[in-house]
Symmetry: C2
Subunit: 325 residues, 2 copies
């Protein structure tokens, strides 16, 4: 319509008119036609040709998990003023759904992936044809050469929470964790175990339950823990807020008296815990820092800037249950 080739139009739109010597007059004429007809280039065709979509994919276990959705929001906010977009899939921490989700994202040509993965190493992910797009692991460490992981210091968090119990001279301290294969659950367990040992307590296998990292998982684990023969614990540490919610529900339904008697502590804080009649200590994971760091890693990788390094973010202890001293 401006009497020029599409090559010329492409150059003008992409601001490459200078490099390709297009006359000012032609630029003006083409711009006029573009403005007049409200022409908008197809992002789609562009992405098709360029093999990049300015989209990054986030794969998480559960969008309803408060901590994960805080991460999601941070990443989305960060991403907004970069011209990139976020696409999200959830996997219910199921390996097959995860693979499926990643495959889908790859087929939609995301430029990078942020994964809260259920896999202990990146073999499964290497197997997928990732075309060399960057992957950043969030919340859970994933083994492999050159993997980039952004996580909370789960060991320290669990250690500190457990220490609060041992300082109160509690002995029978139980642990409800997520699946043992997940690095965050494993590290939290190690922190718990070491804090017990430090206090001279022998970890009692009967007081340790691993299950799904969900409300239902917490409910079932609570049932197992509280109905076993060897007697009830004095305190329980749950490895996530979801697990705590399940535990509370179980106690509420089956043995409300326990609610005041057994001390509780949990990973992940929740605002309503301030109002509970029993004081629950918590470890707050800094979703803001974690999300931003993961985002920065992704952007660095995409733009090939400098070394991209893993990061371990310190947790923040929220003490509601003061130790009398």
């Amino acid at each position: 319509m401006a009497g020029v080739s599409k090559t010329t139009v492409s150059f003008i739109i992409n601001g490459k008119a200078g490099e390709h010597q297009i006359s000012a007059e032609t630029i003006r004429r083409v711009q006029a036609v573009i403005d007049e007809h409200g022409y908008v280039p197809s992002e789609f065709a562009r992405g098709f040709r360029l093999r990049q979509t300015r989209t990054i994919g986030l794969v998480v276990g559960d969008v309803n998990n408060r901590f994960l959705s805080l991460l999601e929001k941070t990443i989305e906010t960060e991403i907004r003023n970069t011209g990139f977009n976020l696409i999200i899939a959830s996997t219910e921490d199921n390996a097959e759904l995860e693979t499926e989700a990643i495959r889908t994202m790859l087929s939609k040509f995301v430029d990078a992936l942020i994964l809260v993965s259920v896999h202990p190493d990146n073999m499964e992910h290497n197997r997928l044809n990732t075309r060399g797009i960057p992957i950043v692991y969030l919340d859970r460490m994933v083994e492999g050469q050159n993997t980039v992981c952004v996580t909370t210091d789960n060991y320290a968090g669990a250690f500190q929470l457990t220490e609060q119990f041992t300082r109160q001279s509690l002995k029978r301290i139980a642990f409800i964790g997520g699946l043992e294969t997940l690095s965050n659950s494993k590290d939290r367990y190690r922190g718990y175990e070491d804090a017990l040992k430090q206090a001279g307590i022998d970890p009692d296998p009967a007081l340790v339950i691993h299950g799904e990292f969900t409300v239902e998982g917490g409910y079932h684990s609570a049932e197992q823990l509280l109905t076993q023969k060897s007697g009830q614990p004095d305190a329980i540490l749950t490895a996530s807020y979801t697990l705590l919610e399940g535990l509370l529900q179980y106690m509420h339904n089956h043995d409300p008296d326990l609610l005041g008697r057994i001390k509780l502590a949990t990973f992940d804080d929740h605002p309503l815990l301030d109002f509970m009649p029993f004081k629950i200590n918590a470890v707050l994971q800094d979703a803001n820092t974690l999300g931003k760091a993961a985002f920065d890693c992704v952007m660095k990788s995409i733009h090939g800037e400098g070394p991209v390094e893993s990061l371990v973010v310190p947790p923040m202890l929220i003490i509601r249950d003061q130790i009398e001293s």
Copy 2:
């Protein structure tokens, strides 16, 4: 590699081998090669050609909002076995961000949109070049010819909650709502107002505060409500869980005594409310039904099947604060 044309491969992959008479032997051979080499067709090239991406876009205010994330999850679960995908953007209930988000989604060729919109009517959306793709409004009604909306019966929910207060002979019943332009906030206000009138109470404008549908909004509204001259309310109805959280935080920080004295009720339930020392009635919005309905509307629209109808889902009253009778 199987010694056939890409046409044939395309037919086989899309299950059109039958229509185009491809021999069983050829199908087998092609499949073998596909399996062996792990070939996955590019969804992208496919979408480019077909001008449809099997992706539907969800635009919500805040992914951290528990109710909205329940909706999101339901929709994602529904969508999973349809071969479609979900892409999500959040808008902080900001009109410009909403427009921006929709524009982005359109440029990525979503096949349909589900919007939790801040606009009272669909004029702004019509203005965007939607290429005729279906739009379903969720959670909030949006005016316009032929708009499809899936919402809770907000009026009834608020009415019932308020009625619980009036039956306890409470007189000074306050309302903390979202922005007045939003249909859900408006309808909840109307329900509150009518329940008061039915009980012979004149709505007192000093007891009604509208603000942002967020925790911070609730905090500010609480401040306004509880520091005003005309005296404090006996009861407060918040129009969402986020507002309640803000209100609780404000009370906790500034006047913890109020926590026991003022009765509370809220839209949206939360599991932890079961454990609070003060009993809070709530209206549970059926995220499952709402999400499924929105999804069904979208699918019907995409496939052009039958009439697509708006839906109003009844709320469920959760009574924690029994009326002595």
